[in-house]
């Protein structure tokens, strides 16, 4: 896939329309962040996709991202450190960006 | 320092439905603090909120011509408002 196939994104790199997301696009966005996607990443990405389809929102902050992962996947994965290792920077922002979700509203 | 059970902070004009809700929720031992457009209630206050001590933000009241209100409300400044909130065990911001 080339950048020409990349759907519209905002100035922070979040997809304008979450429905235009595909796994290929995820890999491309991750590349920008210098992240290679492995099974552990996909587990969180697919969790976020399902969270968005159930709740029509991204977890609003990093804390609530960690809390939501904990609720769905347990204590080990629902921890700040685990998620920071997978998604550098602010994990909620990085993971939502790769998962094609809107920007978490309360993440600075 | 006297204790207030619940301090009701109201900033809605008397016609706002929340004003009636607030008046209904006031119990003895509570206090009512009127801010912004809620100070307009000073003109009709004597008939309402009989059980509570009533306060109003002085700058809001004076701005609307209630400087010499002649009602039973006590006009307070912002530091006094902070003291009231500290005296109250419960706070409701209507």
């Amino acid at each position: 896939m080339t950048d020409a196939n990349m759907p519209a994104r905002n100035n922070e790199g979040f997809l304008e329309n979450a429905n235009e997301w595909t796994p290929e696009i995820a890999a491309l966005i991750a590349q920008d962040e210098h992240i290679a996607l492995y099974e552990k990443h996909w587990e969180i990405i697919m969790f976020l996709r399902s969270f968005y389809s159930s709740h029509e929102m991204s977890p609003p902050s990093n804390r609530l991202f960690v809390k939501s992962v904990k609720e769905a996947l347990g204590d080990e994965k629902g921890s700040s450190i685990y998620l920071m290792q997978l998604f550098s920077g602010t994990p909620a922002k990085t993971a939502c960006r790769i998962a094609g979700l809107p920007r978490p509203t309360n993440c600075l | 320092m006297t204790s207030i059970h619940t301090l009701h902070i109201l900033n809605k004009a008397p016609e706002h439905p929340r004003t009636a809700e607030c008046m209904n929720a006031i119990r003895s031992g509570d206090a009512l603090l009127l801010t912004e457009n809620a100070v307009l209630a000073l003109s009709i206050l004597d008939d309402q909120a009989p059980m509570a001590q009533v306060y109003a933000i002085a700058s809001d009241a004076i701005a609307r011509g209630f400087g010499q209100s002649g009602t039973k409300a006590t006009l307070v400044d912002y530091p006094a408002m902070v003291k009231l909130t500290a005296q109250a065990q419960h706070l409701i911001s209507w």
Binding site: S54, M57, K67 | -
Partner: protein, 116 residues
């Protein structure tokens, strides 16, 4: 220390309720005890089967369903307001507790804040 956030405004056409929901979620994010009370026109937030595609807005019903995940302790609905808007437990989202005396509920919380 417990906070009750009250939403008494309708779900669409105003941002006040969404801002209140945001406040509740933020308190929950920092593990503060927080609950939601819906009264007046606000009970319409709780109506099941909202389809918002046509008005191009996110469904508050779906947004609200994240509340328990984020740690919001309870969602209360004022009994009288539900009756006024024809809302029965069957027609409402899951996990709602009826509140027959909302003034009492407010007096039980340390802080009560209305939306907007």
């Amino acid at each position: 220390m417990s906070t009750l956030i009250v939403i008494d405004q309708p779900p669409y056409g105003t941002w006040a309720g969404r801002e209140a929901l945001d406040m509740a979620f933020s308190l929950a994010a920092f593990d503060q005890s927080v609950s939601l009370l819906f009264m007046g026109a606000g009970v319409n937030w709780l109506r099941a089967a909202q389809q918002t595609n046509g008005i191009e807005q996110k469904s508050v019903e779906k947004n609200l369903s994240a509340a328990p995940i984020f740690g919001v302790e309870a969602m209360y609905a004022d009994t009288l307001a539900c009756a006024q808007y024809g809302l029965t437990p069957e027609g409402m989202v899951a996990g709602v507790t009826m509140s027959p005396n909302s003034a009492e509920l407010m007096h039980q919380h340390t802080h009560t804040a209305f939306a907007g």
